[in-house]
Structure formats: structure tokens, C-alpha cells
Symmetry: C2
Subunit: 216 residues, 2 copies
């Protein structure tokens, strides 16, 4: 029994490590997408769009491994819940990759024009930094199950919400001179960063729930 248990624990740890790797992949993807949208970098935008397939495939592989572990090991109680939660974390992370693609596609659609007007460069840069920070911490939460850090991730998300409000405030200032079409682009861009962070928070909260049995 103890041998089986240990194999199972190794498999579970392997899944966690893969989820951390998936986290790193979406951090890189969003970081590149942010650079692409800030610098009208078409090559980088295309790279993010193409590389999303690797994120999708890796998530798919993790899913299959999880289902295979459930089928072979027939875990119950908390072990089963940990695996079901891992499936959900994979979905969140895959969706974060999609959101980075949306950012990259905006850069591509507007190229060679800049997608982000000069008065919003600072806000979008800060949203990119916040997205990276929240998601990096989420990666650590997955690997260490540090519930204090999970609570910090939620606090960090408040920064993203503040930035999002700042973005909208700039768009509706009377001096806004870039027209409705740019305002629409920036509204959606803000939404992509906000949702990206929401999914990272969701991953972190899932770990919190797994460890404590309570909602953060």
C-alpha cells in the first residue's frame, strides 16, 4: 500500500510541476503580447499567436495524464479532489493563453499603427507587469501550496482592478482625441488583462481551497 501511495504522490507532484510549467508558458505569452501591443511588434505578435498551440497541446497532455491517473489509481476523497482541481487549473491557464492571443491579435490588427496611444502606454505597461506578477505568484502557490501567498495574489489583483478603472477614466476624459474605434480597442484590451488576472486568482483560490477546505 505504501509503495502504491508513493507512486500516486509522485504522479500528483508531476501534475503540479506541469501546471507550474504551464503557468510559466502563459506568463511568457502575455509578456510577449504586451511588448507586441506596446511596440507594434508584428513578429512578436505572430509568435504569441503561433505558440498558443503549444500551450493548448500541453494542457491537453496534462488533462490526459490526470484522467489516466484517476482511472488507474482510483483515488477517493482529497486525492480525487486534488486531481479534479488540477483539471480546472489547467482550463484556467489554457484560457489565459487565449487572452494573451487576443492582446497579440490587437497588435497585429493595428500594425504598423500603434494600438496603444501614448497617454495609455503607462497604464498598459503597468497592467502587463501586474499580470506577470500575479501569475508568477500563482505558479509559486501551485508548487508550494503557500496559502499566505494565495491571499497575496488576491490583493495583487486589486492593483489590476485599479489600473482597469484608470484606463476607463482616461478613455472617457473630454480631452480623449483618438476616437471611438481606439476607445473600443482599449476597452477590450483592458478587459483581456483583467480576465487574465481573474483566472490567475482563480487558480490560486483553488489551491487555497484544496489546502484549507475553505474559500479565500
Amino acid at each position: 500500500m505504501s509503495v502504491t501511495r508513493s507512486v500516486f504522490q509522485d504522479e500528483l507532484d508531476g501534475i503540479s510541476q506541469s501546471l507550474v510549467k504551464l503557468t510559466e508558458m502563459v506568463i511568457i505569452s502575455m509578456s510577449k503580447a504586451t511588448q507586441a501591443v506596446l511596440n507594434s511588434d508584428l513578429k512578436l505578435a505572430e509568435e504569441v499567436i503561433a505558440d498558443d498551440l503549444k500551450i493548448d497541446e500541453f494542457q491537453h497532455e496534462i488533462d490526459n495524464r490526470i484522467i489516466d491517473i484517476i482511472a488507474r489509481q482510483q483515488p477517493v476523497a482529497s486525492d480525487l479532489r486534488a486531481l479534479v482541481t488540477a483539471l480546472r487549473m489547467g482550463s484556467d491557464l489554457e484560457r489565459m493563453g487565449d487572452l494573451a492571443v487576443h492582446v497579440a491579435k490587437l497588435a497585429r490588427r493595428r500594425h504598423p499603427d500603434p494600438a496603444v496611444p501614448v497617454e495609455l502606454i503607462e497604464t498598459i505597461t503597468a497592467m502587463g507587469v501586474a499580470a506577470g506578477k500575479i501569475t508568477s505568484k500563482t505558479g509559486v502557490v501551485i508548487s508550494t501550496r503557500d496559502i499566505e501567498l494565495a491571499l497575496q495574489v488576491e490583493k495583487d489583483d486589486d492593483v489590476m482592478d485599479t489600473l482597469h478603472r484608470e484606463l476607463i477614466a482616461i478613455l472617457i476624459e473630454p480631452i480623449w482625441e483618438h476616437g471611438i474605434e481606439t476607445a473600443i480597442d482599449l476597452t477590450l484590451l483592458g478587459r483581456y488583462y483583467e480576465r487574465f488576472a481573474d483566472h490567475a486568482v482563480s487558480v490560486s483560490q483553488r489551491v487555497y481551497f484544496l489546502v484549507t477546505g475553505k474559500y479565500a
Copy 2:
């Protein structure tokens, strides 16, 4: 063995029936939210926002039943995949409820002013109708596993995408006279309907994959 098998099938059928009921709940929620946003109906908006708790709780209950079935019945292969897919469908449907809440919150935020200017009433009405139609068919796909109908759901989603493009085209017309703030609201409103439909399509595609082993 045949008795166990039959109990398991009954349990699986019960899960499908509950997912159909969850589908009906989110259809009603989005339908009410659409009425609220079109008619500045604060009472209806509040109802949608309050009732989302019931959707969340019901999804939670379905999740727990699925995990309990996996733990007790220890299914493998296609039975296990059907249950994992049911977990994912529940997540999609719960998220659709959240999107209806976003629509309702816009109605509440703008009340007593109308959230939707007169020239967009027709488009938003049509998006509400399309959302209902796509999701109703998705409910039938869940209960009948009709893969032809699953393909129809994808076609119906093209209607939503066309409506979304129409919406953006109206916002960027030079005669648009409702300012940037209303354009931002309507951009997000369009996105909520589009995402709502995307999740319905995703549920339908999951059934398609379960039945055929292929992606639609």
C-alpha cells in the same frame, strides 16, 4: 455487474438532466438580463443578480455529485471521460450565469437612464434572441446527444458573431452621438453576449467530442 452498470447509467443520466436544468436556468437569467438592459428594468436586473447564487449553488451540487460518482463507481475509459466532461460543462454554464449578471449590472449601473441607445435596441434584442436560441439547442444536445444539432449550434454562433460586428460598426459610425462612455458600455455588452454564446458552443462541442471522439 449488470445491476451496478445500470445504477451507474442512471446516475450519469441524472447528471445530464441536471445539466439541462442548469442550461434552462442560464437561459432564463440571460433572457431577464436582456429585458432589464433594454427596458431599464431595475427590479429585473436585481433579480438576475440575486438569482445567480442559485445557479452557482446548483453547479456546485452537480460537481459534488459527479465527484461522488467517480469515487464510488471508479469508472474508467469513456465513462470517466463522460463525467470529467460533465464537470467542464457545469463550469461553462456557471460562467454563462456570470455573464448574464454582467449584463444585468450594466442595466443597474445606468438606471434610470437607458443603457442601450435607440439605434442599438434592434441589435441587442437580436443578440439576446441568438443567445437564447443557441443555448436552448445546447440543452437539447446535452439531453439527446444529437451531433447534427451540435453542428447547428456552431452555425448559429456565426449569427452572434455577425451581430457583434454590426454592433461595433454602429459604434464607430461618424453619426454616433452617445459619446465614448456609452460606446465602452456597448463594447462590453457585446462581448458578454459573444462570450455567453461561445460557452454554449463549447458545451455543445464537448458533447460532440464525447459521442464521436472527434473535434467538431
